[in-house]
Amino acid sequence: MIIPPWLDDFLWTYQNLIHALGINGLLALSMYVVLAVGQLSLGQAAFMGLGAYSSALMTLKLKLPFFMVLPASCVVPVLFALAIGVPTLRLSGVYLAIATIGLGEVLRAVYLNVDYFGGALGLSGIPERAETWMIYGLLFAAVAILWLVGRSGVGRAMEAMREDETAAGVMGVNVGRYRMGALLASAVLAGLAGALGAHVSSFIGPNEYGFEPAVTILSYALLGGIGTPLAPVLGAWILTLLPELLRGFSDLRLVFNGVIIVLAVLFLPNGLLSWRMKRRGA
């Protein structure tokens, strides 16, 4: 394939941003699957960190090839999602949110204080093995799968749960199983995003997976909406591009960023892309 020189230049200059857009899109989808069944988790950053650390260690210490590391990066986040989901998902309300905030903070302390994880310095020298096409291939596949699943009985059950869990249960929806399934899918997506992020940036540190990124990931879905899988991805892209576009405002950048989010939440409670998908598969 021949890439014209101007495009090559462009891709080279904005490489980091292009990677970030794809990875943050995956994180937005990880948030979406949980919100889509009416749950609130703030563990997306923690799951991402688990994927990043476990994959980086598999590459650095076990010298495994990336085609094995990438799928394996889901394993640890999924195990943690199970451990946190089993006790909290029986309860309704904010228990999952609180437990996942706790998980993120505990893991951050562990990364900081255990030498095997590199302590405050993090892990560096991770080979840059994730390619742009892998990131966007996974993002496209995730959107497509979530779209197809959304237009089926599963999607109807998810939306019904979000609207009224009691009524959904009476209609025959196994509410507990759907909550757990959503949390596991969310851990898989975040784990993949973490592994991809670690293998494009060569360095990971404990503060990249704390509370602040958890809230940022939530704001992707709040801004974009959860009517379709595309909506949170759009939210992620806007919130990833915005700081770049506002670079000229230097110190006021974060203020503008915050104001835009507040305005969006106030005036677009269903997100920028508020239309909902049809829930019929035939």
């Binding site: 009224d164 209609m171 929806v173």
Partner: protein, 267 residues
């Protein structure tokens, strides 16, 4: 044959016994009512039968097997369906999608089949849509199939709930105050609908305050007061029972119901 049987069924809340050791036998087939003053425990009884709240004590048997510890979705699969007193349609979804949700327990396509859009998934989905359309036709909502459920009028939302509950052809249908807020013409149409549902072989158990509606339709009436079952019998027996007249009906209503029955018989 007994379809639904509760024994010693009890639900306690802090400082309150909402349902107190209720023994109730509902035979298969027919229309059965639960009546009683506000706060008598009728809705709690429905919540216990449908599995929305767990009992504090007692057992529930349905079609011969114990369902006391089953979750709502498991009871739905066995054929227990219900509507809610405070309407609980899925407002953002379309009318048809609401009804399709009622078939959830009967869909068997796996995730790979759904993602690959295999023929089995598409056939199942088409069959489900056909059944949902039949259920909408039954309640007279075919024209509104693609409307958002929240956009329906109050009475239409009530009928949508019945379609959503009936689409899976349940063995037992629980109707919680189906005639609440309806005008006389709507109530009459509802009575006709409930009779049609009985004709499908679905046993109907309903809570209702409209005594004309209850007495006209029901084969048996169970009376609750302060969580206790104070009487179970035919409408005529219930009307004459002094305990029921004192606790709930009052002498005037009892008299009016008796006159009404005499008039129907004469006419």
């Amino acid at each position: 044959m007994i379809l639904l049987q509760t024994a010693g069924l009890t639900r306690r809340y802090a400082g309150l016994v909402a349902v107190d050791a209720v023994d109730m036998d509902i035979p298969a087939g027919g229309i059965h009512a639960v009546i009683g003053p506000n706060g008598a425990g009728k809705t709690t009884l429905f919540n216990l039968i449908s599995g929305v709240v767990p009992p504090s004590a007692g057992t529930i048997r349905f079609a011969g097997s114990a369902v006391t510890s089953l979750l709502p979705h498991e009871r739905a699969r066995l054929g227990i369906a219900r509507t809610f007193q405070n309407i609980r349609v899925f407002g953002a979804m379309t009318v048809l999608e609401n009804v399709l949700t009622g078939l959830h327990a009967h869909l068997s396509a796996t995730l790979p089949e759904i993602v690959a859009r295999l023929g089995r998934f598409r056939r199942e989905e088409r069959a489900a849509v056909d059944r949902a359309k039949d259920a909408l036709a039954l309640v007279g909502l075919s024209a509104r199939a693609d409307a958002r459920a929240a956009a329906l009028s109050y009475g239409d939302q009530r009928r949508l709930e019945i379609a959503r509950a009936m689409v899976a052809e349940p063995r037992l249908l629980l109707l919680d105050e189906p005639a609440a807020g309806m005008n006389p013409a709507e109530t009459e149409a509802l009575a006709a609908l409930v009779r049609r549902i009985r004709g499908f072989g679905t046993t109907v158990l309903l809570v209702e305050h409209d005594m004309g509606f209850v007495m006209d339709l029901s084969d048996t009436v169970t009376v609750l007061n302060f969580g206790r079952r104070i009487f179970q019998g035919t409408p005529a027996e219930v009307r004459r029972e002094p305990a029921v007249i004192e606790a709930y009906l009052g002498p005037k209503v009892a008299e009016r119901l008796a006159r009404r029955e005499a008039a129907t018989r004469a006419g």
